[in-house]
């Protein structure tokens, strides 16, 4: 599956060297299909995110890579070695991977240092000690080495779980919603911290999350999942601005959909006519345009085509709900320096370069 995507962020990974490869992988639980024919390649050193709503099969994919579940079809390989197929089965303890679970799954009867040392089997004692100290320093936990998990805060537990998974220098690190149990302020800080630690270790990382902001801010590439299938694979910018379908468009951010008609390479709608970009190939004449609220501009105009019906103040920005003459609604986000009151008549101007169209169903 190769996508020609423009990626504005510089790539810090070697996309040419595959680290984790899934080919036609399927897994179901009874009648529920958790993963359906999934094919994806994750490069050496890449930070890759699986993004999707709960129940879309994203955690199952992690478990398939880790060897905690066995696929019914397809093959999984790590570092070029096949670890799961119809003939091969490598046990999880032989795969050289690290996992940070959503509930961290720290061993409650072991201290922080012992938790981190657990995966360092077969090394000399001082080697183990050195590596544990190195990781404690890296994660800023040196003063807590002797504490037990129940004596730690949520953020500290998360870092212990990360240090523990990194200790044996795994080929891949799997993160299963590791930030979802933290409060908002701490979450932001730990995301940055985790990213820094993983970069320093040069680890290939697969993150599972339902939070698009988290996926966007951390990842080189994002795969959006729905019902066990990959809906779209690409850079965060591509996913946000050039979604392949309405599901992705809606899932990764607020969007309004406006009816339009295609004529040649131009699309006409209530806000004017826009040229189609090369990527967009509408199959039908009747289409819907996706408009992100940050692409909608307006200015006060006594003869404008819309009225402000709701104003929501978010601090740095303000979200406006605009109603057209025919009752249709469109949203706009503007800086909060100047705020227009409800009832103002405005003229809407949509930024044409970012408009995406979908066939109307």
């Amino acid at each position: 599956m190769i996508f020609s995507v423009r990626n504005p962020t510089t790539r810090s990974f070697d996309a040419g060297r595959a680290c984790v490869q899934l080919e036609g992988v399927s897994k179901s639980y009874g009648a529920t299909k958790a993963v359906v024919g999934l094919t994806v390649t994750i490069g050496q050193g890449e930070f890759f995110s699986l993004l999707g709503p709960s129940g879309c099969g994203k955690t199952t994919i992690l478990r398939l890579i880790a060897g905690l579940e066995r696929p019914e079809n397809g093959t999984v390989s790590i570092g070029g070695e096949t670890v799961a197929s119809s003939e091969t089965w490598v046990l999880p303890e032989k795969r050289g991977i690290g996992i940070v679970f959503q509930d961290y799954a720290l061993f409650p009867h072991m201290s922080v240092a012992h938790n981190i040392a657990f995966g360092l089997k077969g090394f000399r004692k001082e080697q183990v000690g050195n590596r544990v100290e190195e990781l404690l320093a890296l994660t800023g936990l040196s003063s807590l080495a002797k504490r037990y998990p129940h004596e730690l805060s949520g953020g500290q537990r998360q870092r212990v779980a990360l240090a523990r998974s990194l200790a044996p220098r795994p080929r891949v690190i799997l993160l299963d919603e590791p930030f979802s149990n933290l409060d908002a302020a701490l979450r932001e800080e730990l995301r940055k911290e985790t990213k820094r630690i993983l970069k320093e270790q040069g680890a290939t990382t697969i993150l599972v999350t339902h939070d698009q902001e988290e996926a966007f801010s951390l990842s080189d590439r994002v795969g959006v999942l729905r019902d066990g299938k990959l809906e779209q694979l690409g850079s965060p910018v591509d996913i946000y601005h050039r979604p392949h379908c309405r599901f992705v468009a809606n899932f990764v951010g607020k969007a309004d959909f406006i009816e339009g008609t295609v004529e040649g390479r131009t699309v006409h709608c209530a806000f004017g006519s826009f040229p189609l970009t090369s990527l967009q190939n509408p199959v039908s004449k009747q289409v819907e345009l996706m408009v992100r609220p940050d692409d909608v501009g307006f200015f006060p105009d006594a003869t404008g085509q819309a009225i402000i019906t709701e104003v929501r103040f978010f601090g740095a920005s303000v979200q406006y709900q605009l109603q057209l003459e025919d009752g249709r609604i469109i949203h706009a986000i503007r800086p909060s320096a100047e705020i227009l009151p409800v009832g103002s008549r405005v003229n809407i101007k949509v930024d044409a370069s970012q408009v995406v169209v979908f066939p109307k169903d």
């Binding site: 009874g30 880790a66 060897g67 579940e69 066995r70 996992i99 720290l106 061993f107 009867h109 995966g119």
Partner: protein, 549 residues
């Protein structure tokens, strides 16, 4: 085991846990035996019982259940509320002092009170010179006496569960009710009590089960109940059939109590506000109110624990030097028997509970739930019921085995299992496995699938997983459960009475026999040892209560 489990997981197979099924069947067997005996009644048995003891025993049992239920409810709930909602001098100490009476078995409490207040006891002896007629002195050998004595040792069940429930009750709920115009008293009756009801009802049910199981105290107090009846029929008539039918009736009463408990719990059990709720704020009791609270609680501790324990100690110190030589050797022998039996029971209960609890985790949650409930059903069955329920199949097996060997080999081995340690330990396990099962099940709960997965992904072999992760996490639960079973068997009376091998007496049996002959002081040291061992689970319960906070 682990590998097969993973393979099954991978292929979506579901294994049938045969071993847990088998073990649960063994645990449930005695109850089924007495149940079926009740369903196939023999007419002569019931006509005879009806003409003699049955109406009295039924009436007494009902009175006992009502009396102990009401007594423990009032005492347990009010003490629990006192230490939760109010601050007064010595509260911290009293919180656990109030649990101590649990260490005193009802028959020991009963015999001390009997010895103290009976016609020949020190109290009446001291009073007699001052009065011409002692008729005004209340008759201690009565239903009231039995109910009071049992309430004093059984209220801690209600106290512990009510206190735990009060502690979990969010202080915010109380404040919300106050803002809606409720006085503190109204809040207690309309918010606090209904919220704690499931726990309180569970505690009262436990106390009632203990009262139902007791036969010794009620016999001291001349207040025969159904449990006493089963043992009388057993010993007096040696009639297994009649005993098992009467035991079936007793089991039915226990079942009714259980069903009532279930009905009264309602669905409220599942209601809990999420998040970190603030605790109920304790109101300081200043001045004389504080001292009154202290004095009141201390009085309960004194009457229910200090007095009996002190009396036993005094008797022991007073009588021990006067005992004929060899008495200590007899005591040592009794203690050895008690310890060996308790240890065996603790070991097998732990092993069985571990096999069942870990086994049922492989099956679906509904099956596991039912099996778990069945496995722990023994706690609701009184000792007499279980003893009879085990005696019937064991003797049937023994007779069959003996007949077979007689015919095939021509040897007469007699009854192999009946009256052996095997039947006794089997009965103990059935009766007390709930203790070890619930604590092992709770510690298995800590071994989440993710903990296992984390260990495996970090490269742990199945062996290392077992020794470094699973075993250390289950061990505390196993030890706690084993201690509880050990202490319970130390003081156990009806099962030991009915099933013990001939001549193998325990401390509990000795206390019972001595006390039944009114040889109070001769029973004091063994009784004191039983009380001391009984303190072990109290320590566990107090620690558990503290950890939960």
């Amino acid at each position: 085991m682990l590998l097969t489990k993973i393979k099954q997981h991978g292929q979506g197979l579901r294994s049938l846990p045969m071993l847990p099924f088998l073990l649960v069947a063994l645990v449930v067997l005695p109850v089924l035996v007495v149940g079926s005996a009740l369903l196939t009644p023999t007419q002569e048995v019931w006509t005879h019982l009806w003409r003699t003891l049955l109406p009295v025993m039924m009436g007494n049992t009902l009175l006992l259940v009502l009396g102990v239920g009401t007594g423990t409810l009032i005492l347990g709930v009010s003490l629990a509320w006192l230490v939760t909602a109010y601050r007064f001098p010595g509260r911290g100490l009293l919180e656990w002092l109030l649990v101590l009476p649990m260490a005193v078995p009802a028959y020991v409490q009963g015999y001390v009170y009997m010895a103290t207040f009976d016609t020949a006891g020190p109290v009446q002896t001291a009073l007699r010179p001052h009065f011409t007629d002692m008729g005004w002195f209340p008759e201690i050998r009565s239903g009231i006496g039995a109910i009071l004595v049992m309430t004093l040792v059984l209220y801690p069940y209600v106290y512990l569960l009510a206190r735990a429930a009060f502690r979990e009750t969010s202080g915010a709920l109380l404040e919300a009710a106050r803002t809606m115009g409720h006085s503190p008293t109204m809040v207690f009756f309309r918010v606090v009590l209904p919220l704690a009801r499931p726990s309180i009802v569970a505690g009262v049910a436990l106390a009632i089960m203990e009262a139902l199981a007791d036969f010794a105290t009620v016999r001291f107090f001349n207040f025969p109940t159904l449990s006493d009846g089963v043992i009388r029929v057993w010993h007096g008539m040696m009639d297994l059939r009649a005993a098992s039918e009467l035991a079936g009736l007793l089991a039915l009463v226990a079942l009714v109590v259980l069903l009532l408990e279930h009905a009264m719990r309602g669905r409220s059990r599942y209601f809990q506000t999420g998040g970190k709720a603030p605790r109920i704020a304790a109101v300081p009791l200043v001045g004389w109110r504080g001292w009154m609270a202290l004095a009141g609680s201390l009085l309960v501790v004194a009457v229910a624990f200090v007095l009996p324990a002190g009396q036993l100690l005094a008797w022991t110190l007073q009588e021990l030097p006067r005992q004929p030589p060899g008495t200590l050797a007899v005591y040592a022998e009794l203690a050895r028997n008690s310890i060996v039996l308790s240890a065996l029971a603790a070991f097998f209960a732990t092993l069985t509970a571990l096999l069942i609890a870990s086994g049922i985790r492989l099956s679906s949650s509904r099956v596991a739930f039912v099996l778990g409930r069945l496995a722990t059903s023994g706690y609701a069955m009184t000792g007499a019921v279980i003893a009879v329920g085990i005696m019937v199949p064991l003797s049937a097996f023994d007779h069959a085995l003996n007949n077979f060997l007689l015919q095939v080999r021509g040897v007469d081995v007699g009854l192999v299992l009946t009256g052996s340690v095997v039947g006794l330990v089997y009965a103990y396990v059935v009766r007390f496995i709930a203790n070890s099962f619930s604590s092992i099940d709770a510690s298995l709960e800590k071994i989440t699938p993710n903990i296992i997965a984390a260990a495996r992904v970090l490269g742990a072999s199945p062996w290392r997983l077992l020794w470094q992760i699973k075993f250390p996490l289950i061990l505390p639960g196993m030890l706690a459960g084993a201690t509880l079973v050990f202490a319970d068997v130390m003081k156990e009376l009806p099962i030991t009475m009915m099933l013990r091998p001939f001549g193998q007496d325990t401390l509990a049996i000795w206390v019972w026999q001595m006390a039944a002959e009114s040889l109070w002081s001769g029973a004091s040291l063994p009784a004191l040892i039983i009380v001391l061992v009984g303190l072990l689970p109290v320590v566990f319960l107090v620690r558990l209560g503290n950890i939960k906070n």
